[in-house]
């Protein structure tokens, strides 16, 4: 609904954003694709010849890739599960009449604003450290052996830290969604004789589906490329026990200077992310705009 005039103006004003994003996406991606076919290592310069799919073969058959692939999967689904379940629980709780709800909300929200490097360091040193950490003190106090979190359960520890960062986000979005629920629906359900559990299952949960979709989408975007938390806690170890794909490619390209191999890994990561995003885009296309 507009005139030709405003339509051409609109195209003009859209141009910078589209051009920049296109350049940001296409140019480096093509370079990555190109490098991925080369035997290109920064330690042995001038030797970069075309070697076809060898880099991919190496990357995909590397046991480290298989391990980090499953680690990535576990990390994303683990954090999504914890934050969604915890977030729904918190949202339902904070939706009740309580004293000082604003203060409670401020406390719950706080971890979201803490930068990843700080939260990882605080958890690693001050809480999870097997000697001086608070959890170790607590374990000794109740008379059990302290757990060496990052040696015994490195990936799980990282899942805990990341979940702590993202739980506030999920809880707040879901709380806002719950509060927009029409109270008359619940009153009608009361009159129809529905108990609290069926009210939750048949009225509250369906009402939250849009918000849940949004949470899954946004968290996945960020969780797929978790990096800082791994770098400052375990550096991917022990072995590859806490390496995700992002971190694996980082070590290959910038620590071992294997540009070809790292690029092949990058392309693989892009393809995997695309598979996830096609699935997610379908989900939002259906749910977000509805």
């Amino acid at each position: 609904m507009a005139t030709t005039n405003s339509r051409s103006l609109a195209r003009l004003m859209l141009f910078p954003s589209v051009l920049l994003l296109l350049a940001w996406m296409i140019v480096p991606l093509c370079m990555t694709l190109y490098f991925s076919f080369l035997d290109y290592n920064l330690l042995t310069p001038g030797n970069d010849e075309f070697i076809g799919l060898v880099n991919y073969e190496f990357f995909l058959t590397d046991p480290a890739f298989i391990e980090s692939f499953f680690n990535t999967l576990l990390l994303v689904t683990g954090v999504l599960f914890i934050t969604l379940v915890g977030g729904i629980g918190l949202a339902v709780l904070l939706d009740q009449a309580i004293w000082g709800r604003n203060y409670v909300r401020i406390m719950v929200l706080a971890p979201f604003f803490v930068m990843p490097t700080v939260s990882a360091l605080v958890w690693k040193n001050m809480l999870m450290n097997p000697v001086n950490g608070l959890f170790a003190h607590f374990a000794t106090w109740i008379g059990v052996n302290p757990i060496d979190f990052f040696a015994q359960m490195p990936l799980f520890s990282i899942i805990i830290i990341v979940s702590w960062q993202w739980l506030p986000f999920a809880a707040l979005i879901l709380l806002t969604a719950i509060q927009s629920l029409d109270r008359e629906q619940l009153e009608a359900a009361d009159l129809d004789g529905a108990g609290p559990i069926s009210k939750f299952l048949y009225i509250v949960l369906p009402h939250l589906s849009r918000a849940i979709t949004a949470v899954i989408l946004i968290e996945t975007i960020f969780l797929l490329s978790i990096f800082a938390e791994i770098l400052v806690t375990t550096s991917g170890g022990p072995g590859y026990a806490s390496t995700n794909i992002t971190y694996l490619i980082y070590t290959q390209s910038l620590l071992q200077f294997d540009v070809g191999g790292g690029s092949a890994g990058g392309i693989v990561a892009v393809i995997l992310a695309n598979i996830v995003s096609i699935f997610l885009m379908r989900l939002i296309g259906k749910n977000l705009e509805g």
């Binding site: 609904m1 507009a2 005139t3 030709t4 005039n5």
Partner: protein
């Protein structure tokens, strides 16, 4: 000055023609109402006159000048929107001043014009409030105020009363009519409510599916509708339509009688039927009569009518109040029909 001439104007969105070629002459100082069901193209045509939509083909002339490709700001028209479209961040004063500032008037002139508009529309006490603090009727007045200060060559109204409640609507209807009398400026008014059209218009253009079915004064449309659509659209309650058995030499397939032209008796008459639901309004009574051929007719009767639900009654109408329509829905004039009959 404020004459608007549309010549073979069309509008299509992609392959959909929302306005089929339309010719219309709006005279200076006239109050013309575009009326029709939703989706008939009346609002689109108004927005084309305003310049908010492109014209696909044809020309729009304002005061004799071709304005088809003139941007809205340069057409010298003012528009009152359905949602009022007040600027929420500006006070009433600044809302009204906005078009004057765009026209680069001096502050003294602006103040004078605002004071004048505020007096006409009783806005004096609200000038420093923001739109959010006003009631629907007050917002409507501000929107009109913003339109009149510019002294446009014509006003365009896009369903301006549809967001008001019923009693306020009647008041604003009168106010707009009075405003038109005192300003004597051309007004083009879009509505889907035929009562608004009948009460306010000098002339009415009845729209249907992208064309104008008929243009005329309210009484012309009421008394001499050119086709079944106009006959059914103008008048409340709606005209009753009955299909008739085809007779040789008579192209009539449908006849129409307005509820107020049907006379109800218990003795004898043209149609016989049983009384259904009765609506008492005090001043008048509407009866729904199920006649024997299965059709239901609405009848307007006196306010103190004592007919009961289930009564058997007869209905009559004087022949000159009965309209005849052919298979295409066109009205057959009585004179034309007489010649056919005698032939």
């Amino acid at each position: 000055m404020g004459s608007i001439t549309l010549k073979q104007v069309t509008k299509s969105f992609g392959k959909v023609n929302v306005i089929k070629p339309i010719d219309l002459e709006i005279k200076d100082g006239e109050f013309i109402v575009f009326v029709g069901p939703s989706g008939c193209g009346k609002s689109t045509l108004l927005r084309m006159i305003a310049g908010l939509e492109d014209t696909t083909s044809g020309t729009i002339e304002i005061d004799g000048q071709d304005a088809t490709d003139t941007p809205p700001a340069k057409r010298g028209l003012a528009m009152v929107f359905q949602s009022y479209a007040l600027y929420p961040h500006m006070t009433v004063r600044n809302n009204i001043a906005f078009p004057l500032k765009q026209a680069k008037l001096s502050p003294e002139e602006i103040d004078k014009k605002i004071a004048n508009a505020a007096k006409i529309l009783n806005l004096d006490t609200y000038l420093d409030r923001k739109p959010g603090q006003l009631s629907g009727g007050q917002r409507q007045r501000v929107a009109i105020g913003r339109a009149i200060v510019r002294q446009p060559s014509a006003f365009l109204f896009d369903e301006p009363l549809s967001n008001l409640d019923a009693s306020l609507r009647v008041n604003m209807r009168l106010e707009i009519s009075e405003l038109h009398k005192s300003l004597a400026t051309t007004m083009v008014y879009v509505t889907h409510d035929q009562v608004e059209a009948m009460t306010m218009a000098d002339r009415i253009a009845v729209f249907n599916a992208g064309i104008i079915e008929q243009v005329g004064t309210p009484l012309e449309l009421y008394n001499k509708p050119v086709n079944q659509f106009v006959a059914g659209f103008i008048g409340s309650p709606k005209m009753n339509f009955m299909s008739v058995k085809p007779v040789e030499n008579d192209p009539t397939v449908t006849i129409g009688v307005r509820p107020e032209h049907l006379v109800i008796t218990k003795d004898s008459g043209k149609w016989h039927g049983t009384v259904g639901v009765i609506e008492h309004l005090g001043s008048e009574t509407f009866l729904h009569v199920h006649i024997d051929n299965g059709e239901t007719l609405t009848v307007r009767a006196d306010g103190n009518c004592d007919i009961q639900y289930g009564d058997k009654v007869y209905l009559n109408a004087s022949p000159d109040k009965v309209l005849h329509f052919d298979a295409k829905g066109l009205t057959l004039s009585l004179a034309a029909k007489d010649t056919l009959m005698s032939a």
